[in-house]
Each structure stands twice: as C-alpha cells, then as structure tokens.
C-alpha cells in the first residue's frame, strides 16, 4: 500500500511548517522512501525524540501503510 510523497510531505509540514523535507524514492516503487527533515522544532531534542516527533506527525502510518521510511533528522541552525 504505497503512500505518495506529497502525502508524507503534507503531513510533516502540517506539524512542522518550517520544515525542509527531502524525499527520495529508494526503489522507484512509491513505497520505499528516504526522508531528511530539518526543522527548528528539533532543537535540543535527541535523535530518538526527533524521530518520534516525525512519526507522530505521520499519525501512526509509519510501520503500517508507510512501511519503509528511512529517516534522518536535523535541527535547523538559525
């Protein structure tokens, strides 16, 4: 059950309006994504917390309909 990039991006943006999101379709199947998310909201958070925030933004889809999302996160620097 693929989840399109636009939908992933929309959900993350809804939670973190300032986020810069780079999505890469790893397998060309609209189902295996790599995402790099940069947001000021991640400042002072551990990696685990940053990823939990993104999973939370995806509202339980991660590990379910969105089965492969390779995630990296970073705090915005300014």
């Amino acid at each position: 059950m693929p989840m399109p990039a636009t939908e992933i991006e929309r959900m993350i943006k809804a939670k973190f309006p300032d986020a810069t999101i780079q999505l890469k379709d790893l397998a060309g199947d609209n189902d295996h994504w790599a995402a790099h998310v940069v947001s000021a909201a991640f400042k002072g958070k551990s990696r685990v917390q940053q990823h939990q925030m993104v999973y939370d933004a995806l509202g339980g889809r991660m590990g379910d309909v969105l089965h492969a999302l390779q995630l990296t996160t970073a705090a915005a620097t300014d």
């Binding site: 990696r47 685990v48 990823h51 939990q52 991660m62 590990g63 379910d64 390779q70 995630l71």
Partner: protein, 118 residues
Amino acid sequence: MAQDTASDPVHQKIADTIAANDVVLFMKGTKQFPQCGFSATAAKILEHLGVQFKDVNVLDDQGVRDGIKAFSNWPTIPQLYIKGEFVGGCDIMREMYAAGELHDLICQKGIPHAHHHA
C-alpha cells in the same frame, strides 16, 4: 517508556529482558537468520562493533512484537536497547555507527567489544 509494567505481563517481560542483558536487539528473525533487511543491518552493525548482544525474535511472539512498539513509543522493528536505555532503530543505529557515536556509547556504557583500528 512503559508506565505500568507491573500490570502488563508483556511489558514486564520486555522490561525483564532489557534489565537482564546489557545489549538487546529486538528484531525480525535471529542474528543468524534475520528475516528483514533492516533487522539484518542492525545486527550487522553490532557484529562489526564486536558487541555481544541478545537477539529477541519478535516474529516468535506477537505480544512482544506489538508490545515493544508501545513500550518504546517507536513504530518499527528493529529496536536497540543498551543498558536498559532505548537507543533507536535501524536508521539511528546506521547514523550513529557512521559517526562513531555508537562505538563511543558502548565505550561509555562499559560494554565489552572488539577494538577496531581502521
């Protein structure tokens, strides 16, 4: 993490496992026969570091498979625990390993491991 381990046998079982073992990897399959690419990567990283670890095959136990996600507030498998602390899943392990941070962490925690001089 888990709020009421006492009232939930699955949470208690998970808590006992991570208390009894310094390094625990909850994975699909075993370290010898991983049954998912992400779990295979996670196991390989620990093997590269020369760390002894307890592998828990979540495919053997549906309760643990679901329970560990709630326990860690983490939606996917694999999951790594070091000294009772949730370290992360495959992506975080990969990132930390590449940055040398996973090696630093196991040193800090006093986990025996092979020393690599690359």
